[in-house]
Subunit: 163 residues, 6 copies
């Protein structure tokens, strides 16, 4: 494999997907925000009531998935048919785990959309909790699963790409 | 400290900064993309010639800093006066280290802008190298330094917030 | 019927329309701006000449229809194939009546696009006339007709939803 | 008063505010969404738990205030220092009342930002409840109060503009 | 002079304007669209009535000026205080002449905003007339005048930059 | 032919393309930036090393193609499947020649996308070199070729439209 987003002269180039089939494609990505005990306690308390931290981060992630082609220069504009962002509070590690899911009937994969949704949801949690703890750490952010397209069903465990 | 982005009912609220002074504020953030030996070698080869991977990621990061208020729901729109994105190739760890810097004469800090720039630069590197290695890992993404505003000079080491 | 934009936990969720058929869908919406005699007279005088109030509001409404998925968090991005915004001056009531029409061959309806076009056209009329009358009233804004999708041909009179 | 957004030839023109003073300006606007008993009951039930309808509409309204200059052609881009969106459930009238507040230290008023926030919050409530009741009615949308600038303190009752 | 938008390594860099004074800055730019006799006659006929070609192009140009920092990667976001777009029909040359004007009290010049306004107004005229004449030619697009900042009053005739 | 973007009353109108076939469509456009000897020499020197002027302009052009429907009021939103921007340094004329190419399987042509990409790439070159030469001239910007749709294969030489 080579870097498909560069032409033979090394210049940035949007891949031509005009002739690819329209198929069902989906992707899952994950990110996380690790924080101090104090920040985690406040976020958790809010979530048990009606506190809007995770509701806001969920909306931010969904909106960001729709902006992917505007953020990532060589991404194709895609008419996403499903975006979902979920959170899980890991108390032992004072961490919010984020998972995102995007789906499309289209000509190219939606992994960048899923990664962008997870990343912006994480940034939003950071923004809303930073008054309590500016030292929060975001990541690891990575692809969990990709279905559709020439790789078929990809997961980090099920790949022959990385040698 | 409490979560300043929620009101007393737990609802999302943009902080009122109207009465804060206009002062010189800046922030540095970092992120990273760890990849396979094959992907790293191709990125490195491209960078030695004229390959546009890092040039594209740099532009994406700078543009994203300017979109922060559009991405992060409770961020104030800011007229950034400086955005910079730098890369360092860490061959031993097959990792691209990303650092971002934002500056502003304004009423509120620019740490979200710096974190957004670093995050989107990382996503762009992922996008441009994913054909070779979809299992790349982004992060840790975190704030390195913040100058100006009520905390003065903040670094992860120089903070009394996290207990 | 239930609120389709919430999952079982009450969390915001973009409906998955991947498996819906691509069909011809359209929607009409209306809004209105009621104003003082003075403001209405000036708007009317301008319209008889070449005054750009309604031309500007028409463009703003058309552009807004294209931004619907960016404005309304759970709307799907849609490749609209037709947007139209029309105005009627109701002299007796010193009111500008606005009607909008959107059309699409797609997997989901375009009523939000039509409502957004009408709303933003109304806001633009308000903006351009507010120096004369800041007390103008916008609305009622509502859906007039929807064709395509599982409800078939919907009008406010022809519905069994509202009990 | 005349229509300030048209020049002498009747052409659209952005008012020149370069020489106006930077002062503290704020505005409040209102809108409303009236719906069927069924839709109102579901929205109310969700709000008592953790249902995200109003949280989503609040975020949409705040984000829309920041997009005002992109939506309304002759609005100046403004660095808003505060945006707030509140809801009140009026059970007797099966109506969600929306109020918005925007503030700025700047050269021009923020009434369009407040009106845009209220309008887009209303459209978002419509979107999230339309599966239950597509016949909901949005409005009246209007300015409630404006402070700062040449009119001083304006309210609908305290105006000599409308003759 | 050197290329200020590259650092010493030749990498793209947004100039740091934090420490520059806030002064009154303005710029004028021009563009033009030359077309066939048929297209020009139709545009002219429309303009004499109420045809919206030039009204639409004017709005597009004004809106584009506000989007400059989103379009041109190293431009700073600016809170423009005035944007104006004017047209002149040159019958002898079957050409629409476009002139734009932008103004700002700020830390950096507005020539890119004026050039962007003129360019997008030209593209909009092309779009609206292309059914009649796809061979229209846009340009020359250039800066006419710039006031404020370190060059003082710049015009193409009054410059010592170009050697 | 008549101006298809105006209705019979002369009002702006987005053409209804719902019933047009989805076919393979592409377009090529060109623009150019002529500059002083000094500016051209610096740009050329940078290009031989790793200077990011053309890399930045390329990204700006690609991103702008994706924003066309947001910039040009009556353009339909399109899911472009390919965008390419190329540069050629014409030393004799101290000019950067720009060519752009867009492709789509869709219901309407992509000439506006190609023209927008070329225009914004030109504006970006202007921005990055203006410190050395503010008197640069952009243009001529024009369509070079269009394939697909009712005109079939159009080039400036192969047209019967312009009489």
């Amino acid at each position: 494999m080579t870097l498909t987003h560069l032409n033979q002269k090394g210049e940035a180039s949007m891949v031509d997907v005009t002739d690819k089939d329209i198929t069902d494609r989906s992707a899952r990505a994950q990110s996380a925000v690790a924080m101090s005990a104090d920040a985690f306690a406040q976020l958790q308390a809010g979530n048990n009531k009606k506190g809007d931290v995770l509701a806001t981060a969920r909306i931010a992630g969904i909106q960001a998935a729709k902006k992917t082609a505007d953020l990532i220069p060589l991404c194709h504009p895609l008419a996403l048919t499903k975006v979902q962002v979920d959170f899980e509070l890991d108390e032992a590690n004072r961490t919010v785990n984020i998972s995102s899911f995007c789906r499309l009937a289209g000509r190219t994969g939606v992994e960048m959309e899923a990664l962008t949704a997870a990343s912006v949801a994480a940034l939003t949690i950071y923004d809303m909790c930073k008054a309590v703890d500016p030292a929060m750490v975001i990541g690891p952010t990575k692809l969990q699963e990709k279905i559709g397209g020439k790789r078929g069903h990809w997961t980090p465990e099920n790949t022959e790409t990385d040698t």
